[in-house]
Symmetry: C2
């Protein structure tokens, strides 16, 4: 019988990005009764509202009323292969214009199997192995982008995330170092609002400066907008794409958090023109998609399209109730940490106070590693995510990430109490 | 404004595989009234039978009755991210055992976004750029596999498809040539039953010999089983995987033809153990999948799962009615070609008589190229697919592919009449 040599399988399978996800799932499955601050998944309570057939019917009705289909043609759109660029591009385009002031005509949008496929397609289009280009990423960094880069053998350099966004000096320095080595940084990945795992938010000034840096250094910006919807109403900041006058920004979004993850629908806005051709980067992404997933499930797109239509075609309306729950949970998590831990825990313990998103970051005076997580889970019934796996450079080993999205207020309360006992007993000595 | 240089986008965007799909769609969209023998898509009439909600309810009922879920937990499975290896692995495993005699326990199965993602994941796992390994493919070849190889910069060598399968001598010679060049052929892609585009079927003897060759040359076989379900009842041949005692075969299937393409659900059986680890290749594919699509839409999986359950968990029962329609269409296409063209068309025109699948191959005494297709579409109202794009070595330029799957009998009749007039007038001089 054949036995495959692990060393002849692709290198990314031995990298940290893929392994970390598997490890976390494994720990969680062993402690099903623990309160888990680990998953960045949407709150399960929203599942009750999902009515698949109603959403589909709404989308079919839209195709008949506004896109000139017969009912039979409309049903066929759900059944058949569809265009690789997507079925609901017009709805997404309109929502981005209306809600975020992003001018993204339908032909600049590609509908993808979640934000993850959008990242993979974008990296594939922009990086040729022969060029040896580098991808810069805000550090610490979402494992989805480093995982996709690893799968495509794209070298990654970290640029520090800061309290106000990203270290622009550090980015410029990385560009200089790359040039000195005969390479270049082709693109820089950032999550402008409430990054995962850092929880940081980029200031308006940093957004403007990042776009200037991109122009000066001739690089593209991959903006991941997953958590932008959680911003407090009236305190939203314009996305990088909304500020982008030079078409430097490739904007990636997902319906996983504002609709539901099980649909696996995301999108990418790629309005960059190709020199000397009547084509956009979006056309190239759609072409690449034929070799990855052919097209995004029309069934899933119909459900998401129907949800959008039920909220007047507005992402903001669609996500309002969800955003409120996540803000309530986040406030409760931070307040409970403040109330429970202040003055009680040893020196060196601290936590962030983000204004949105799913994630609070905590610092410990000891390594927050896999061994400590096992103790936390087994003896205190509380789970969290070690931050080290999100860093490219071995830092973060005394940090952990707490996610508030999946829990109810009473679970957050109990979870923080357990965390307090854990910290008392294990690191308070 | 930025302008991207096409020469700095990924090379596969300039390759033939991706371009050909776009070109065909473009021609078809310009001649909507032509009768099209081009698409290999399922018959649109089956769309009438699709009842999404009924299928979902059936699957939810299954989760409650047989997998110990509460109704709430079952609904949550559709809503949430799921395991990257899939939700319906058990159903697929059981169907493969029952219908095809394939022993594929659930942990050897990964559910994918169609067969396309299964190909991409498999190639990614098996090929390291540093090794410079080659992928062998039966030539002519499905563009999905060459497209995925191109996206991953994997070099491809063609091995001739023959009337009884694949040129085994040619495969052995290609292995020798690779070794002489310090390389090796890591895997060989074949569609054992009714390949796309060739329409060929591998004989039982060739299947056995291919497995021996794989053992001798230490290569893996990627078996694409998309069209196997169209075999006449009682004349099925065992798949390569069913014959595989050495775990040399990675078996790829799709529900696109037996259920519906809009679900985007396929699967891969990868039961190859890793040396020195308690892991299978399937585990590695599931890990890679987290960086491509995270997981296959649970919603889509539920619909497919429900369809399977409605047919007693049997792929054979599920596909029986569809297989009958495709066999009827194929017989009608071949018979009408025989009746209409024999004795009427010039020497050098001939066509294949496959015993299953969607595709008939036709030879012309002139180039069956894009220019001739334009004439056929514009002046005679009939579309087909040039075969040259499926060849790796520039052959096939006088061949075309006729697909019977999307048409009704009267359209096949009219289409062949138009084809006869076209051949008469354009190449009969």
């Amino acid at each position: 019988m054949v036995r495959l040599s692990p060393s002849r399988l692709h290198d990314s399978l031995r990298g940290p990005a893929l392994g970390s996800i598997g490890f976390l799932n494994e720990v969680m499955s062993r402690y099903p009764d623990a309160i888990s601050f680990a998953p960045g998944a949407p709150h399960p309570g929203f599942a009750d509202d999902l009515d698949v057939q109603r959403c589909i019917d709404r989308f079919l009705d839209h195709l008949v009323r506004y896109e000139g289909h017969t009912p039979e043609q409309a049903r066929l759109r759900l059944y058949e292969y569809g265009p690789s660029r997507g079925l609901i591009n017009g709805l997404i385009s309109e929502a981005l214009r209306r809600d975020q002031g992003i001018d993204a005509p339908p032909d600049t949008v590609v509908v993808t199997v979640g934000a993850q496929e959008a990242m993979l397609l974008t990296l594939r289009a922009l990086f040729r192995p022969a060029d040896g280009d580098l991808l810069a990423v805000a550090n610490p960094c979402f494992v989805g982008i480093t995982g996709a880069a690893g799968l495509l053998d794209i070298p990654v350099v970290g640029v520090d995330e800061t309290d106000t966004g990203i270290d622009l000096e550090g980015l410029a320095a990385a560009c200089r170092r790359a040039r000195a080595a005969g390479q270049r940084i082709r693109a820089c990945y950032v999550a402008s609002d409430f990054s995962n795992p850092g929880g940081g938010r980029m200031s308006l000034e940093c957004r403007r400066q990042l776009l200037k840096t991109a122009e000066r250094e001739d690089l593209l910006v991959l903006e991941d907008n997953t958590y932008g919807f959680t911003a407090e109403q009236g305190r939203e900041l314009p996305s990088l794409k909304a500020l982008d006058t030079g078409r430097r920004v490739i904007h990636i979004g997902t319906f996983a958090k504002v609709c539901f993850p099980g649909a696996r629908v995301g999108y990418v806005v790629a309005d960059q023109p190709l020199a000397g051709q009547d084509r956009l980067l979006a056309d190239e992404l759609a072409a690449l998609k034929t070799a990855v997933t052919v097209n995004t499930s029309p069934l899933s797109q119909a459900v998401i399209g129907g949800m959008l239509l039920e909220h007047g075609g507005s992402l903001a309306k669609l996500s309002r109730g969800k955003a409120e729950l996540y803000r309530r949970n986040l406030a409760q998590l931070v307040n409970t940490l403040d109330r429970t831990l202040t003055g009680r825990v040893p020196p060196g313990v601290g936590w962030s106070r983000p204004s949105g998103g799913f994630f609070v970051r905590m610092h410990l005076p000891v390594p927050a590693d896999v061994e400590l997580l096992e103790i936390s889970a087994a003896e205190y019934g509380v789970l969290w995510t070690p931050m080290a796996q999100f860093y490219l450079d071995g830092r973060g080993d005394s940090q952990l990430r707490l996610s508030c999205s999946y829990l109810d207020p009473d679970q957050i309360e109990t979870g923080v109490q357990r965390l307090a006992t854990f910290l008392d007993k294990e690191i308070g000595q």
